[in-house]
Subunit: 152 residues, 2 copies
DNA sequence: TAAGGTAATGCAACGAAGTTGCGAAATTTG
DNA sequence: CAAATTTCGCAACTTCGTTGCATTACCTTA
C-alpha cells in the first residue's frame, strides 16, 4: 500500500489530504489525528514528542499525543529517527511504508546550527562491510553537519 | 591525548589500568568511578544507564551513576551510541578521544537476537553523498542484524 | 439521518527516569 | 598530616511515559 507518495504529490487540499492519509492507513479521522498529522505535513523535518505537544498548544492531553504518535508509527505514517540523546524524533514516511514494515532506508541529517532533523531521500544508504559472521538487516545513517539553509 | 589505545593494549593489572585511565583523563580516583569503569572494561559492548545500575548492584546511588557517566562522557572515556528508542547506550572510546572532541567514527552494531550493541572498529564509515548545500561533520552508522555469536 | 456498536479521548493516578541543592565524606595537594 | 577541593548520598522535585476507566466522538447500516 504505497499510498503516501501519490497523496503527497497531489494538489488536493490539505484538509482532504489529511483525511485520505488517515483513511488509507485504516485510522478513524479525529481532531487530534488531523491536527498532529497537519503539523507534520506543514513542518519539514522530524519532530519530537515535546515539539508536538508545544505546537499543538493546550488543546490535547499528553496521553492523546502519545497514543496518536504510537498509532501513526504502527500504521506506517511516521518513523523514528535515531539520536544519541534521549530525544526521539518522528518523521513522515514518504515512500511505500507498509504497516509494520518500514522502509525508511534513507539518510537522516541533523543540523548543528538550527537543530532541525530532515530526511534526505536523495542520498543512498551506503554499503557497510562488516567483519565475518555478522549479518546486516538494516542500516541507519545519521549525518551531522550544516544544512542548506544555515549555510547561507 | 590518545591514551586509551596504549593503555588497553598493555598487560598491566586491571586495577592499575583503571587508575591510569582515570588519571590521564584528569579525574580523581573514587570507588564509583573505579567500579563503573571496570564494568565497561570487562564487558564487551555498549551499556545503558540501567545496565550499569544493575551491574553495579545496590552499591551506588542513582545520582552517582548519572554523574559518573556524565563525567566519563565529558572527559572522553565514553561515547554514546545513537538508537531509535530512548535507550541511550554508552561505550568505551577505544581510540584517540580528546576531551570534548570525540572521534568515535566507527560503525555500531546492534544484534536483533541477543540485543548486544558492539563497536565495529574494522568496518569503515562509508562516504555519504549529500545534496548540494549540505556539509557533513560527522556520520553515525548503526547496523542492525545478527551478530557473530548468535549466528551459530 | 438517527441509533447503536466501536474506537478514541481525557482524567487521575501511578511508576520510572532524570535533575538539583546541600551537608557529609573521601580524595588530592602542599 | 591538615587544608582545600572534589565527590557522594540523601531528599525533594520535575519531567516523561504508561495504564484503567468513564465519557465522548466517530463510523456503520438500516
Amino acid at each position: 500500500m504505497p499510498v503516501n507518495d501519490s497523496i503527497h504529490n497531489t494538489n488536493m487540499s490539505t484538509h482532504t489530504k489529511i483525511e485520505t492519509i488517515l483513511k488509507h492507513h485504516r485510522l478513524s479521522v479525529t481532531d487530534s489525528r488531523r491536527k498532529i498529522l497537519n503539523i507534520f505535513l506543514t513542518h519539514a523535518g522530524a519532530l519530537s514528542h515535546g515539539d508536538i505537544e508545544r505546537k499543538a498548544g493546550e488543546k490535547f492531553d499528553r496521553v492523546t499525543v502519545y497514543r496518536t504518535l504510537q498509532a501513526f508509527m504502527e500504521r506506517g505514517i511516521l518513523h523514528t529517527v535515531p539520536t544519541s540523546d534521549a530525544n526521539i524524533k518522528y518523521a513522515l514516511c514518504s515512500d511505500s511504508c507498509h504497516e509494520g514494515h518500514h522502509h525508511d532506508d534513507h539518510v537522516h541529517f541533523m543540523c548543528r546550527l538550527c537543530g532541525n532533523t530532515t530526511c534526505i531521500n536523495d542520498a543512498l544508504i551506503p554499503d557497510v562491510k562488516l567483519p565475518k559472521g555478522y549479518t546486516s538487516s538494516q542500516v541507519e545513517v545519521v549525518v551531522h553537519g550544516i544544512c542548506k539553509n544555515c549555510r547561507k
